[in-house]
């Protein structure tokens, strides 16, 4: 299968590989996928005053999964928590030129972003978590 140049670039030079300490203040961690399915993504954000100042990822998966999560960390940096929640898997598909068979990689990356944001919010304000979820579900 032929990969796009962008996927190859992210594979060879992955951005922001690494880990933050999960318990550190302002850090949100999302782990999605399963080894049995062939992909696991760990995505972390570091938030200061509602802005994502840094992001890290580690991914077990194919080249497209690695590229999707690497790209996600690039996009997350500098965004507000609210803006980050608006990143869609289709944006990733378009940017990386992923073929239909690899769309699930982008879905996983979106899930990882959501999981990391969710974890951050839960840690920042445990009490309002249920309220927030309810609000967003209402929208």
């Amino acid at each position: 299968m032929a990969y796009s140049d962008k996927v190859i670039d992210h594979y060879n030079n992955p951005r922001n590989v690494g880990s933050f300490k999960k318990e550190e203040e302002g850090v949100g961690t999302g782990i999605v996928g399963a080894p049995e399915c062939g992909d696991v993504m760990k995505l972390q954000i570091k938030v200061e005053q509602d802005t994502i100042v840094d992001a890290r990822f580690k991914t077990f998966g194919c080249g497209s999964a690695i590229a999707s999560s690497s790209l996600a960390t690039e996009w997350l940096k500098g965004k507000t928590v609210h803006e980050a929640g608006a990143i869609k898997n289709t944006d990733i598909v378009q940017e990386l030129n992923l073929p239909p068979v690899k769309i699930h990689c982008s879905v996983l990356a979106e899930d990882a972003i959501k999981a990391a944001l969710n974890d951050y919010q839960k840690k920042a304000d445990p009490a309002s978590e249920t309220e927030k979820t309810a609000t967003s579900a209402g929208v």
Binding site: P35, E36, C37, G38, K58, G63
Partner: protein
């Protein structure tokens, strides 16, 4: 050393230059139809076909009349299963095969199931080997065919076919063997194996693509088949169609070379394979062998690199032609059914790589492969959350994964 390096000889092999040379005249000046009985062009072609048939029969200890040419092993497997079932369906409606067979056997079996044939898919042990006792126990008075491969195309494990052949003979059940990966690589003797039908193909043994054979026993017992292709009654009526004489000649030449060189070649290839295995396992931790440690094809090495995904690994070594049991690109996203049948976990099945060494593999290429694999695995492990967790002492089996 020329790049890319070819390490996928289970998939296909290059045509040996000596084979091509032997074939060439049969495209041009010796173009006759082997079935033309009344002129010199036909006689010349027939003579060449007879010679090839003799070489092929000799390699497997059969009679030349027992060789039926087909388009390849897939057709041979289909003809064996469907042709036997169609011929003997009055006698019984049950066949036995194995869960790790090639799709060219599994799929015809599934197609027969739709027509009311009962199929037993025997399990294998953790080395990929079928137990002859399981074969014996699966036989009923309605069993008409057993189909077990000689050696696995994925993990190279060589089945105990001689024992299975003996059981089949004792019980009076026909035995078909898909020997595609074995013929030309390891000694194959249809008498010792006790097989009644055997499939194999030229392009796995340095011959051309598009030509294969089905061995069909003529004596004790005389096996009969209902053909799938009707026409001029070629190949004893079992497979009609004008023979592709250049391909037949190439098949014959390839087999002749295998017969001459197999004993030295297999030692050399196995030496390189062992060197590859030792090199990889010495350089990297948590690499697991898939298949039988000793009873396997000399050129086969199938290993799982824990914590890295196979397709990503292939991407990191794109100058080397390899194959992975990861099915990341398949529609089902299911990893190799062969590895799953061995009891290999889905995670390690996704992490598997198959190396296939062959006649033209060099030591330099093997050393290059070891070095590249080491770098690619380390690159991927550095960004693997599973590797990190395992390093931290997390038992990955105990984690509640968000399965998608």
């Amino acid at each position: 050393m020329k790049l890319p390096v070819y390490m996928d000889n289970h998939s296909t092999t290059p045509c040996d230059a000596r084979v091509v040379t032997a074939m060439l005249p049969y495209f041009t000046e010796k173009f006759g139809n082997a079935a033309s009985r009344n002129h010199a062009f036909g006689w010349e072609a027939e003579e060449a076909v007879d010679q090839a048939r003799k070489h092929i029969a000799r390699l497997i200890n059969a009679d030349a009349k027992e060789i039926v040419f087909t388009s390849g092993a897939t057709e041979s497997d289909n003809l064996a299963l469907k042709g036997v079932v169609e011929m003997y369906k009055e006698k019984g409606d049950h066949i036995i095969t194995c869960s790790t067979e090639h799709r060219a056997v599994i799929d015809p079996a599934k197609s027969l199931e739709k027509k009311g044939i009962r199929v037993t898919y025997l399990p294998v042990d953790k080395t990929g080997m079928v137990d002859p006792d399981d074969v014996r126990n699966a036989i009923t008075d309605k069993t008409i065919l057993i189909s077990i491969m000689l050696a696995s195309n994925e993990i190279g494990t060589i089945h105990p076919v001689n024992a299975i052949g003996k059981i089949a003979k004792d019980k009076g059940v026909l035995f078909h063997c898909d020997a595609t990966q074995g013929v030309g690589k390891i000694p194959v003797d249809v008498q010792a194996m006790g097989v009644d039908l055997m499939s194999f193909t030229a392009h796995k043994l340095y011959g051309p693509k598009g030509i294969g054979a089905l061995y069909v026993r003529r004596k004790a017992p005389r096996v009969r088949l209902v053909p799938m292709i009707d026409g001029g009654g070629h190949e004893r009526g079992m497979r009609s169609g004008t023979l592709p004489v250049p391909l037949v000649v190439g098949f014959g030449k390839a087999v002749e070379l295998c017969a001459q060189e197999m004993s030295t070649e297999s030692v050399r290839i196995q030496g390189l394979r062992d060197h590859l295995q030792d090199g990889i396992m010495g350089a990297l931790e948590e690499v697991y062998l898939n298949g039988h440690p000793t009873d396997r094809l000399p050129g086969n090495l199938n290993v799982s690199f824990a914590y890295v995904e196979g397709e990503a690994l292939l991407m990191g070594v794109k100058e080397i032609a390899l194959s992975s049991g990861s099915a990341c690109t398949s529609a089902t996203l299911e990893p190799s059914y062969v590895l799953r049948a061995l009891g290999v976990g889905s995670d390690l099945a996704h992490s598997s790589i198959r190396f296939g060494l062959g006649r033209f593999t060099t030591l330099e290429e093997v050393d290059y492969t070891i070095d590249r694999m080491m770098k690619a695995v380390n690159h991927l492990r550095a960004m693997s959350p599973l590797y990190e967790m395992a390093r931290e002492g997390v038992d990955l089996k105990s984690v509640q994964w968000a399965t998608h």
